[in-house]
């Protein structure tokens, strides 16, 4: 596989890019901590922390693990994995989220049967 990368200027570019990513990762780590101490409300804090982590992770994957120049087959494997990873993570969230959403979808006829209640809502 090393033959794919070769010894020439192309490879040097790749290594230099990785060094750049290294510096970026150090900075982003500091940003992660700084942002945490801003004491944002929980949902925003989680979202922001995950976004930064995803960026950092993406950089590691793309440049350190050279996914950016990798073959299609590897992407397919990863694609499937990522899809199922999210299915797995949705499991625990679904118990609360789906029931909230479900309440909006399933209940319409019950709403029709109780017009008095809805008169009170500013719809």
């Amino acid at each position: 596989m090393s033959s794919d990368h070769g010894h020439g200027a192309d490879f040097d570019k790749h290594v230099n890019a990785a060094l750049g990513v290294f510096v970026a990762l150090l900075c982003l780590t500091c940003v992660t901590v700084k942002v945490a101490y801003l004491d944002l409300p929980t949902h925003e804090a989680i979202a922001l922390a995950l976004v930064i982590a995803l960026v950092k992770g993406g950089l590691v994957a793309a440049f350190f693990m050279h996914l950016i120049s990798e073959r299609k087959l590897i992407f397919s494997v990863l694609g499937i994995t990522v899809a199922f990873f999210f299915v797995l993570l949705l499991v625990p969230m679904s118990t609360s989220i789906l029931d909230h959403v479900g309440h909006l979808i399933v209940v319409p006829h019950a709403q029709a049967a109780e017009p008095a209640e809805h008169a009170g809502h500013a719809e």
Binding site: V33, G57, V77, L78, P92, S96
Partner: protein, 196 residues
Amino acid sequence: MEIPYTVEPRPDTGLTNGKIGIWLFLASEVMLFGGLFAAYIMLRVGATEWPQGRTILNVKLAFTNTLILISSSITVLLAWASLVRRDLGKFKLYMLITILCGFGFLTIKYFEYTHKFELGLFPRKSTFLAIYFTLTGLHGLHVIGGMSVNAYLLGPGSKLYETNPEWFTNRVENAGLFWHLVDLVWIFLFPVLYLL
């Protein structure tokens, strides 16, 4: 008997056996830590109260550890790059630094854990502590595993370089991919456990 495409890539896929193999393994590791992250989410969503990580855990130490792992990631990449450039001396230097970074990480972890235990903070005390110790513990085991492989490649394994430098370079690349995953997992663990 030789297995084809161990060293030279197969023309239609463009990949060696080891490269596909390590990525498949990494895919399974993503699902393993995914299972634990799913557990974290479920436990936290279902909890009546959940402490903010920084009130219990040592953010400074973990921040340092994050920097250490990120640094070790670049050094393992430079170790592989040295081999591509056929510089065995540089490879050994960078690989040694990578392993030392691993030791540094584990040492800090050791101090973190023992400090928790001194304060009576064990996994049985709360689900937060339980998931903290389990996630970082499993991650720590992976650090040890990665370090062992790296140490082998630095030591007895490097003999392969003399007879088949291409094959050895590929092995270091694949081991490096594992090490990057260890770093990647920590990049998520750190904010989730310590900061949120």
